[in-house]
C-alpha cells in the first residue's frame, strides 16, 4: 500500500490550499510500472531488402551506400561497393542503372541518382588511390585459370581472389578489359577509369597475361589448374544475310580501331545498320571523326534496344535515325556504296557499318552442348568433366550488359567456391561470405511501407551528398533515432552504437515501427 501511495503520489501544490489545487503528481519513478506486461506484439529491428539492390545485377547494398554518402562516409561507401563490384567507376559511367528504375522514390518525385553517386565514389577511389579494405581470404592453394579479361573474366578473378584462390587471367588481346577496353567509346568510358580499376584487381595478386594463346585444351593439359572460367563474350558479329554484306564494315571492328588509335579512313555519309548500343556507339564515334552517320533500324525508334539516354544523346549530336528501314542489298558504284532498302528506296553512302549484334564464338557454344555433368545457374553454367569449367559472360547471361557480365563472373566465383566448399550461391558476396546482410529479411520494401511524412519533394541535386540524402534508405536503419525519440515508455536504449528494446517497459504499441521512416523495424507476435 505504501508503494501504491508513493507511486500515485497525489498532492497539492504550493500557494493554493490543498483543497483548491489537488492533482496527481509523483516524484517516484514510474519504473515500478512494468508496462512490458501489457505487450502482445514485440517490435524488432528487422532490416529489409530494397528494390534497387534487388534489381542490381551485382546486388550492391545501395540503400546503405546512399546512407553512408549522405553522412559523408565515402570510404565506407566505397568499401561497401567494392565488396560486391570491382568496377564502381566503370559502372558509374556505363551501367544502365536498373536500380533507378526500381527506386521507390520514383513514385514520390524522381528516382535517386544512384548511378551518378556510384560514379562519384568510384572516381574518388581512383583519385585517392584508395586501398581496398574488404576481407580477403588468404590463398587456399587452389589455382584458377580465367580465359578472357572482359568484365566477366575480371569479375570472376576479383571475386575468386577474395575467396582465397590464385587466379591467372589469359587475354588474347594486347590489353585487358574486353568490351570495356575495345568496344565502348572513350567518351563514355575514359581509359584511365578502366585502367585504374583493373590495376586495383591486379593489386590483389591477380595475374593478367595479355597476348595469350592459351585455350581450354592447353590449360587443361598444363595440369596447373583446379578449375577454369571462360568469359564467353559476344565478339563475333552476327550476319545480316544479304547480298553485298561483305561490303559492310563490322561495328565492333570499327570501334576497336578507334580505341586502338588506328586511322579508320572513314568519312562522308555512313549508313549504320542496327538499333542497339553498338549502333549508337558507332554513330556517335563517327560524329567525332567528322563523318555523317545515318542509322537504319528495322523497328520503331521507341523499340530500339539501346539505352534511352544514349539515343537522346545521339539525337542531340545530330545522328539521323531512319526507323522501319532495313537494307536488303548493298552494291558498289563509282561514287561509293548503294544500299537498297526494304521500301525499295536506295541510299548512297561512302560506307556501311553493321552493328546489328554479336554472338559468341562457335567453340564456346559447343561447350554448352555437353549434356553430362552440366549444371545451369542464372548467369553461369558449370561443366564438370574431371575438371570443373564455368562458362560465364554474354553467352549464358540473360541480359547482355556490363553489370550483368561482372555479375556473371561473380556468380562463377561462388559456383566454383561452392563446388569446393558447399555454400549457397547468391547475388551478394556479403551474404555468400556470411556478412551482416545475411540477417536481413528478403522482403523488399515497397513505397507503401515508407513513412513519407518524413520526406519532402525535391528534384535531383547536383551535390552527391545532397542527392544521397534524397534516398529513402528503404529497409535499413540510418540512425535517425525516431524509434527512441517517439517511444512513449522510453524503452529504446542506445548503447555502443546499437539500439535495443527494453522489454520490461515496451508495451508493444508499435509507434516506433510507424515512425521508422524506412521500414527497418517489424512487429513479432508474442509466443
Amino acid at each position: 500500500m505504501l508503494l501504491q501511495k508513493q507511486f500515485f503520489g497525489h498532492e497539492s501544490v504550493m500557494m493554493l490550499s490543498k483543497e483548491l489545487l489537488y492533482i496527481s503528481r509523483s516524484n517516484i519513478s514510474t519504473e515500478i510500472n512494468k508496462t512490458g506486461s501489457w505487450r502482445f506484439l514485440t517490435p524488432i529491428y528487422q532490416l529489409k531488402s530494397s528494390p534497387c539492390t534487388e534489381k542490381c545485377p551485382l546486388s550492391q547494398d545501395i540503400s546503405r551506400i546512399e546512407m553512408l554518402v549522405s553522412k559523408g562516409k565515402f570510404k565506407e561507401a566505397i568499401d561497401l561497393i567494392l565488396l560486391e563490384n570491382p568496377f564502381p567507376s566503370v559502372c558509374g559511367h556505363v551501367c544502365f542503372h536498373t536500380c533507378e528504375t526500381a527506386c521507390n522514390r520514383k513514385s514520390f518525385d524522381e528516382p535517386v541518382g544512384i548511378h551518378s553517386i556510384e560514379r562519384f565514389l568510384g572516381n574518388i577511389a581512383i583519385a585517392e588511390d584508395y586501398k581496398l579494405n574488404i576481407p580477403i581470404i588468404s590463398f587456399n592453394g587452389k589455382n584458377i585459370a580465367i580465359l578472357g579479361a572482359g568484365p566477366s573474366g575480371l569479375g570472376a578473378a576479383y571475386f575468386m581472389r577474395i575467396l582465397g584462390y590464385n587466379c591467372d587471367v589469359f587475354e588474347i588481346k594486347k590489353e585487358p578489359g574486353g568490351l570495356l577496353r575495345w568496344g565502348i567509346p572513350a567518351y563514355r568510358l575514359p581509359d584511365l577509369v578502366l585502367r585504374k580499376e583493373i590495376l586495383r584487381i591486379e593489386s590483389l595478386g591477380v595475374k593478367i597475361h595479355c597476348n595469350s594463346k592459351e585455350t581450354v585444351d592447353s590449360l587443361k593439359k598444363s595440369g596447373k589448374y583446379d578449375a577454369i572460367f571462360i568469359g564467353c563474350g559476344y565478339g563475333k558479329p552476327v550476319k545480316m544475310g544479304i547480298d553485298g554484306e561483305d561490303l559492310a564494315i563490322d561495328g565492333l571492328e570499327f570501334l576497336y580501331k578507334i580505341r586502338n588509335g588506328e586511322n579508320t579512313d572513314i568519312g562522308g555519309h555512313v549508313a549504320v545498320i542496327g538499333g542497339g548500343n553498338s549502333a549508337i556507339d558507332v554513330s556517335r564515334s563517327l560524329i567525332r571523326i567528322g563523318a555523317t552517320p545515318i542509322i537504319f533500324y528495322r523497328r520503331r525508334i521507341e523499340d530500339m534496344p539501346a539505352f534511352k539516354e544514349e539515343v537522346e544523346a545521339a539525337n542531340v549530336e545530330g545522328v539521323e535515325i531512319r526507323e522501319l528501314t532495313k537494307p536488303i542489298r548493298i552494291e558498289k558504284d563509282s561514287e561509293g556504296l548503294v544500299i537498297t532498302l526494304n521500301n525499295n528506296n536506295t541510299f548512297k553512302a561512302q560506307h556501311v557499318i553493321k552493328a546489328i549484334g554479336n554472338e559468341a564464338e562457335n567453340h564456346w557454344k559447343l561447350l554448352l552442348d555437353s549434356k553430362e555433368n552440366f549444371s545451369k545457374f542464372s548467369r553461369t553454367v558449370l561443366v564438370n568433366n574431371h575438371l570443373p569449367i564455368v562458362l560465364g559472360g554474354d553467352l549464358v547471361n540473360p541480359v547482355k550488359s556490363v553489370a550483368d557480365a561482372i555479375a556473371s563472373g561473380k556468380q562463377a566465383a561462388m559456383v566454383l567456391d561452392s563446388f569446393f566448399n558447399h555454400r549457397e550461391v547468391t547475388n551478394s558476396m556479403d551474404i555468400y561470405t556470411g556478412g551482416d546482410r545475411k540477417n536481413r529479411s528478403k522482403h523488399i520494401t515497397s513505397i507503401e511501407e515508407i513513412n513519407l511524412d518524413y520526406f519532402e519533394f525535391s528534384p535531383r541535386r547536383d551535390s552527391e551528398i545532397e542527392e544521397a540524402k534524397r534516398c529513402f534508405n528503404c529497409g535499413i536503419c540510418n540512425d535517425c533515432d525516431n524509434c527512441r525519440i517517439f517511444c512513449p515508455e522510453i524503452s529504446v536504449n542506445f548503447k555502443d552504437n546499437k539500439r535495443s528494446i527494453n522489454l520490461d517497459y515496451c508495451k508493444g504499441c508499435g509507434i516506433c515501427i510507424t515512425e521508422c521512416p524506412r521500414n527497418a523495424m517489424g512487429l513479432r507476435e508474442e509466443a
Binding site: V13, L20, L21, S24, N27
Partner: protein, 389 residues
C-alpha cells in the same frame, strides 16, 4: 494608444501584450483573424513565442496543454466545430489545472453549415471545468483577455474568453491598446505552480484510483467557487492600472426596474439602447449583462433580481429538450428567492440572425403584457411561412 481594431485583433493585441510563450491553433472561421495576427507577431518578432502548427483543434489543445504543463504561458483560439473537436481535451486542461487561455468565437454548429453567431458551441462546453467570460465590445475583449491570464494563473483553471462571431470578431471599433509597461505592471511573468522541472523530475497526471479521484474533482469545484471573488480582485487590479472594469454582471438601469432583460455578448449592447429608449417613454425596464457564465454567479444574480417582477432572458442558443441555456441557469439561481420573478425565456437570433432594437422592444412588451409565459421557451421571430407546404 487608441486604435481602430476588429474584435479579433483586440484578442491578438492582448495575447501579444500578455507575452504568451506558446501558441497553437488550427484555423476556423471566424477565429482565423485572431491567429493570423498572432502568427505575424511571432514571425516578425513582435512576440517571442513558439507558434505550433497542428493538424486539428484536438492537437492544438493538446499542444498548449503540454506547453502549459511545461510551465509557460499559453494561448489558443477556436470556434464552433473546432471547440467541439477539442471537447475531450477541454476536460483534460481543467483536470490538469493548467492556466490556459482560449479565445472562443461564438459560431453556430452544422448542419446546415453556418458560420455566424450562435452561443450553442461554447455553452455546450459548460461542464468541462473552464471559466467562461462573455464580452460585449472590442475593448472588453482586449481587457478580458488580459484579465483571463491573471485569473487563470491565480486559480489554476483554464479560461475561455468568448466573443460573438462577426458582430464582434469582424467589427471595427476604437480600442485603447495599452502600452507594454502598463500591462507588465498588471500582469507579471508567469510563475507556474505546475511545471516540469528537469532537475526535479516528476510524473504528472498519472492514474487516480477511486480513493483519490473524487478529491481532485472536489478541488476543481472549490476552485470554481473561489473564482468569483478572485475575478473581482483581478478586475480591481486591472482597474487600478487602466481605469476600466466590467463586473461579473453588469446591472444597467435596474434599481427600480420591474422588468429586467438579461443578455450576454453584443446583444447586451443593443439592449442598452432599447432600455434607454424605453426609459424615455416611462417604462421601468433594466438590463443585466451576464459576463461570467462559468462559474455561474448564482448569488449575484439572485440578489440582482430580487426586486424584479418579470425577467426576459434572451438566449441565442438552445439546449434541445429543455430550452435556452441562460434561462435555465437563471431559473435555477432564483430557486431560493423569496420574491420569485416570472422568467420569460426567449430563444432568438440563432445562426447569426439579427436581434434588432425593435425585436428587443417587442420582447419587452410581450413580457410586460403577458401575465405568464405561454411556453417555457418562446421561439421569437420564427418564420412559420417556411413550414407551409
Amino acid at each position: 494608444m487608441r486604435q481602430v481594431l476588429e474584435g479579433s485583433h483586440a484578442v491578438s493585441e492582448a495575447v501579444r501584450l500578455a507575452k504568451v510563450q506558446v501558441v497553437s491553433a488550427y484555423p476556423i472561421t471566424p477565429q482565423t483573424h485572431i491567429m493570423e495576427a498572432i502568427a505575424e507577431f511571432c514571425a516578425n518578432g513582435k512576440m517571442n513565442a513558439k507558434f505550433i502548427c497542428v493538424e486539428s483543434e484536438h492537437s492544438a489543445m493538446a499542444s498548449v496543454i503540454a506547453a502549459s504543463a511545461a510551465g509557460v504561458r499559453t494561448f489558443t483560439a477556436t470556434s464552433s466545430h473546432g471547440l467541439a473537436l477539442m471537447h475531450e481535451l477541454l476536460h483534460w486542461a481543467s483536470g490538469a489545472r493548467l492556466p490556459i487561455v482560449m479565445a472562443e468565437v461564438n459560431r453556430a454548429l452544422a448542419p446546415g453549415w453556418n458560420i455566424w453567431m450562435d452561443q450553442t458551441d461554447s455553452l455546450s462546453q459548460r461542464d468541462t471545468g473552464w471559466i467562461q467570460l462573455y464580452c460585449e465590445d472590442s475593448q472588453e475583449v482586449l481587457d478580458t483577455t488580459l484579465c483571463a491570464f491573471k485569473l487563470a494563473e491565480a486559480i489554476n483553471l483554464p479560461v475561455m474568453v468568448v466573443l460573438d462571431a462577426f458582430f464582434l470578431s469582424h467589427t471595427y471599433e476604437p480600442v485603447d491598446v495599452p502600452e507594454q509597461n502598463e500591462v507588465d505592471k498588471f500582469l507579471p511573468p508567469f510563475l507556474p505552480r505546475i511545471n516540469i522541472d528537469m532537475s526535479n523530475p516528476c510524473s504528472l497526471y498519472q492514474m487516480a484510483p477511486p480513493n483519490f479521484y473524487m478529491e481532485m474533482r472536489y478541488s476543481i469545484f472549490r476552485a470554481m467557487e473561489e473564482t468569483i471573488s478572485k475575478f473581482l480582485e483581478v478586475e480591481e487590479d486591472f482597474y487600478k492600472v487602466f481605469g476600466r472594469k466590467y463586473g461579473i454582471l453588469d446591472s444597467f438601469q435596474c434599481d427600480d426596474a420591474e422588468i429586467i432583460i438579461i443578455a450576454a455578448g453584443t446583444t447586451a449592447s443593443t439592449c442598452r439602447q432599447v432600455v434607454l429608449d424605453l426609459r424615455e417613454t416611462g417604462e421601468k425596464v433594466g438590463l443585466i449583462k451576464i459576463k461570467m457564465f462559468r462559474p455561474f454567479p448564482k448569488k449575484l444574480i439572485s440578489d440582482a433580481l430580487s426586486n424584479a417582477k418579470k425577467i426576459a432572458v434572451i438566449d441565442r442558443n438552445c439546449s434541445f429538450g429543455v430550452g435556452g441555456i441562460f434561462a435555465q441557469e437563471i431559473k435555477s439561481a432564483l430557486y431560493k428567492n423569496k420574491n420569485m420573478p416570472t422568467v420569460f425565456g426567449y430563444i432568438t437570433g440563432l445562426g447569426g440572425r439579427d436581434v434588432t432594437p425593435k425585436m428587443i422592444e417587442e420582447i419587452y412588451f410581450k413580457t410586460k403584457e403577458e401575465h405568464y409565459p405561454e411556453k417555457e421557451s418562446i421561439w421569437f421571430g420564427i418564420n412559420y411561412e417556411l413550414f407551409r407546404n
